[in-house]
Every structure is written in C-alpha cells, then in structure tokens.
C-alpha cells in the first residue's frame, strides 16, 4: 500500500539545533560571536586581523576561527595579532557548519573570552544556509567587486545583520559609487546598516569597534535580565 507521510521538518534541522545550542553556550559564557562572510579576496583576513589587534589594545579578550578549503595561511596571518586562532580545514567543503565550530572550540575556556570571530570560507552562496550560532552575521563587500554584487547574491545579503564595505582606500581608483552600492544592498535587504572601512588605513574602524562593544553589551544585558 502506498502511504503519504507528512513531515514538515527543516532539512538543516541538525545544524540549526547545534547552532542554537552553541548560541546559548556563548551567551552563558558572555562571548559575543561574529560570523564574517564574503567572496574570496574581499579582505576578510586583513580586516579581522586589524579588528583583533584593536580589540586587544582596548583590553578585550578575543579569539578567532578561520575556515578555508586548504592551508593554514590565514590562521598564521591572524595569529600575528597575538590572539588565539584556530584554522578549520574543510578539505573542499564550501562553507562552515555548526558542528565544525563546536569541534574547534574544544579546550578553549569560553568564559575567558569577550569576542569570538568566525571567518567563513570565501563564498557568497553556501554559507548563507548555515547558522553557526553567531550573534552577528556580517557580510563584507570590497570596492573592487562592483556595486551590484548584492543584487547578484541576494540571499547572503538578505540574511546578514550588517554590511561592511572594505578597501575604501581604493574607492577612487575603482571609481566606486557608494550610492549605487547602498541602493544595491538595500534592494535585497531594506534598512541593512552599512559601514565603510579600510583596514589598512583605519578608516571606519572606530565605528566598527564601537558597534561591536554596543552589541555585546546589549546581549549581556538581555542575558543578565
């Protein structure tokens, strides 16, 4: 006999459950977790390295996980900041999943951290489907990529909490049109906050650091209340 069984179950339920558990673990430990997503070459690693350096100078305790298909190059670069860093090698997989985050946190005392950054695999498609338990999902876009990229990859921009435009020091040379980029971002995610930065020059970094501190405080207030 042929039977039809109704399920109505999320395909990524397993990942979503792990992510939810991670999120509450982080909140209890008082760690504010940030997931950085972009295309390859947007400058995630340099941006994150400067962020780690600046936060450490302000007395925050920070750590980072970085995902790549192969090599430990990015972990080595990030470790120059002095922060503890672990590389997640996906060996071909195009995105990070919540289970990989859990595995790579082993041995780290989370309550001794204020911020945890996760640098996702450079990819604007696949990471959008995978919740990593982050408190803030940041999508980065460099001025060299073209203002219409958000329209081409709407899903990731739509799922982000914040957009960061990188390499603003190259904006003039690229004839980058900030108004067009804003319109493009807001066409796929109306009202998404945008920060304009250059990690190399320090442009926009104080605004970013302030935003991180504010968001972290807000999460802690909620957790305490």
């Amino acid at each position: 006999m042929t039977r039809i069984v109704e399920l109505r179950a999320g395909v990524l339920k397993k990942n979503d459950e792990l992510a939810r558990a991670l999120r509450s673990r982080m909140q209890q430990a008082g760690v504010f977790t940030v997931n950085l997503v972009s295309s390859p070459g947007t400058g995630k690693t340099e941006f994150l390295k400067q962020t780690l350096i600046a936060l450490r100078e302000q007395g925050y305790r920070v750590a980072a996980l970085v995902g790549d298909l192969e090599t430990e190059n990015d972990a080595n670069r990030l470790a120059e900041s002095g922060a503890p860093v672990r590389q997640i090698l996906t060996h071909g997989l195009c995105h990070l999943e919540a289970a990989m985050i859990g595995d790579h946190l082993e041995g780290w005392a989370l309550d001794a951290l204020d911020f945890l950054f996760i640098e996702n695999v450079g990819n604007l498609v696949c990471p959008s489907s995978y919740d990593l338990g982050e408190a803030l999902r940041v999508v980065l876009l460099s001025v060299t990529e073209g203002e219409d990229k958000p329209r081409k990859y709407p899903t990731i921009f739509n799922s982000a909490d914040l957009a960061i435009v990188t390499k603003m020091d190259l904006a003039a040379a690229c004839e980058f049109d900030a108004d067009a980029a804003t319109a493009s971002i807001h066409s796929v995610r109306p009202g998404l906050p945008i920060l304009w930065t250059s990690a190399r020059r320090g442009t926009g970094m104080s605004e970013w650091l302030e935003l991180l501190a504010t968001r972290r405080d807000a999460t802690r207030t909620v957790a305490a209340g």
Binding site: M1, R8, G10, R189
Partner: protein, 121 residues
C-alpha cells in the same frame, strides 16, 4: 555548491522519520524558498547521488518553490513582489525587509510503499 550537503540532510531527515518501518520510498516532497540559497536543478542532481545505497534509492524529488512574501506596513498585508527578486510591495511600492515567506528549506512529506515484496512477483 552545497546542494550535496542539503541532499544528505533530506536523506537523514526521511531516514530518521522512517525508523524501522519496512517499505520503499517513492517520492520526497520538499519546499525550497527563493531565499533559501538552494538551486533546485543542482539539488535534483545531488539527490540522486545522496540517495544511492540508502532506503531512498530510486525515489523522486518533488520541489515546491516558495516565492518571497513580505509584510507591507502600508497595505497592512502580506504581499508577493513579482520576480526578479525584490522587496517592494507590488501594490503601493513600499520597500519592506519583513520577510514572511521565502526562507523555507523543509521536507514536507514522503511517499512510500509498505509492501515492496509484491512488486517483483
């Protein structure tokens, strides 16, 4: 291309639901939202690979595509902006980021025959 991971997720979900129930799975029906980040064609291709040597081997995959629907505060209604992807109310042009449908990635149901032995007879 994360559709293979998604296809494995579908196989896991249905296999878990099946448990020890004997039978052959004929079809799996899923909902894929326009904002789910999943490409239906790629998923069809990966589904065949992911189901090989499982209890879902040979099953078809039916995909129901769910368009984006937003809450329009001006019209006080859920509206569906026509393609290409936009978040602008088709009635009054208000832009809204309040997405009500389109992020789905769900197994809706599966169809199975619980007396497979009769087939070859």
């Amino acid at each position: 291309m994360h559709e293979l991971s998604i296809a494995h997720g579908i196989v896991d979900t249905v296999s878990t639901a099946l448990g020890d129930t004997p039978g052959v799975v004929r079809d799996v029906s899923i909902a894929v939202g326009a904002l789910s980040g999943v490409v239906p064609d790629a998923l069809h291709f990966c589904f065949e690979i992911a189901t090989a040597d499982t209890r879902l081997s040979g099953a078809t995959l039916s995909i129901e595509q769910v368009p984006v629907a937003i809450w329009c505060p001006t019209c006080a209604a859920v509206v569906e902006p026509p393609p290409p992807l936009s978040f602008r109310c088709p009635v009054c042009n208000t832009v809204s980021g309040d997405v009500r449908r389109g992020r789905e990635l769900d197994v809706l149901s599966y169809t199975f025959d619980d007396e497979p032995a009769l087939e070859g007879a």
